[in-house]
Amino acid sequence: MDRWFLIIATLLAAIGGVWGMISVHHGIRSRWTVLWMGAAVVCQLGFLSLRGHLRGACPLQDIGEILVFLAWAITSIYLLIGPAYRISLLGVFTAPLVFGLQAAALISGMLTALPVRELPTGVFHALHSSLSVLAYGALAVAGVAGIMFLVLDRQLKAHVMRSGLFRNLPPAHELLVSLERLLWLGTGLLTCGVVAGFLMPRTPQMQHTHLFLALAVWAGYAGLLAVKAVRGLTGRKLALSTVAMFIFSLLVFARV
């Protein structure tokens, strides 16, 4: 049953993305993407609540669950900020990422077929996992805004204004403001997640590399924000750094 929720959520993200891209290709802004993504988030919640019930804990116990949790965080943050700040096309750019993460989770071996009930791990462990994944959601959406900025910047520099994509992308300044806000939100959540990680009771099996990688990711984002605030950064460098940092930060999952 949990997999069916995930399959439907993946199909909804695919439909949202493809629908949005077709609309953009025809020069119009799709107002349906937000609805497809809204339906996807309901299915993601269905999957996560079933897995959480089976685990008796936060559903972040295998790589598949982490990917779905991350997809849920990304979709939720998009739904929170996209329509509110009228960042058009954010959904069209977010949907393929959500689809990719969920499709990866569906690959054989990513999700434990029969999840076992977890032993209680303590509040700091749960806090570390959930806050960190939420932070990754915000940072992923920041990366999406960064890609949108890079596309627009390239078109503005090359004087290419005929495409439907150019007409429908939000202004460059608004993309950068949203990107920066998402970086602050993501880094704030990540700070709490990392602190909770260091407060977890130590066990002999604990992978210290994971926590140090998380700390390195946190330092990277904090450094980026500090440079932006103190010295300033061009939009292109900020966007490229955000995308590169997110790709680098996925290393933490490789060591989960």
Binding site: G27, P171, L233, R236
Partner: protein, 336 residues
Amino acid sequence: MELFCLGLNHRTAPVEVRERFAVSAPRLGAAATELTSMAEAAEGVVISTCNRTEFYLAAPDARHGLLQLESGLTRRERLDGSVSSHFYRKVKADAAQHLCRVVSGLDSMMLGETEIFGQVKQAYQAALAAGATGSVLNRLFQRAFGVGKKVRTETSIQEGSTSVGNVAVDLAEKIFGHLKDSEVMILGAGEMGRITAQSLVSRGARAIFVSNRSFDKAEELARDMGGTAVRFDDWQHALERVDVVISSTGCPHALVHRADVEKVRRARKFRPLFFIDIAVPRDIHPDVAEIEEVYLYDIDTLENLANEARARRQCQIAHCELIIDTELAKLNLPGT
């Protein structure tokens, strides 16, 4: 009752003829009443803009009404018969189709412009308030507004900017969003620079700085635009704070070089900077565009973008006319 239209526009009459028939906005209602009786018609609406004056009337006999109206107007304006060559005459369905084309912006000097929609609406409301309209014209105009809206929503006839000034403003909005936090500097006190800067101010630009070799001229333009004059030696300092630079000096060589912008990048914290170079020879060296946060557009690029938008609008005409014909066929309007 038969519908007819007598009119002249920018294509059929020069301005010295058009101005003789122009009607000011406050007089539109009275003019509609007056012309209705002149043409021995039952209903009338007068549309008058800078590019056209058109009389829409409904009378028992359209041909007779047209003759009466034309001779009455010629007599009133004390013009000879040659003026009739400037008029166009539309009867029944042709008149309805013409009104729909006008409302949709298809007959405008700037194809697809939206201002005409409001102007026709204003003319109709004035005639309605003056009691000059009846069942034929009320139905015609209300349907024409519906058709005009349909044309604008279902086609891209109004998309893209067709003038250099508007292209520049659209680009500024694509970079900075709303312009209320943007500051603009004009280099040179030329007319094109002033017009472009005024377009930016009309869309909310916060502050204007004017720099010119002749400080008196800079002060004069700054006063006109509610801005601040900057001595020509100091424009580089102003570059630290502004977001948009419009350059239109008569300088025979490039005035803004890459080094000038590089110098202020740190102070600007690498914020985006939009250069609009409408001078020939160009004021801004092309190397400036290589700086990451700089967007540089010269006059040729802006002209090309405006031409592309015009061409795109031209391509939409057939689609718009199909919508008009289809809608009119469905409506079965009285008087047509």
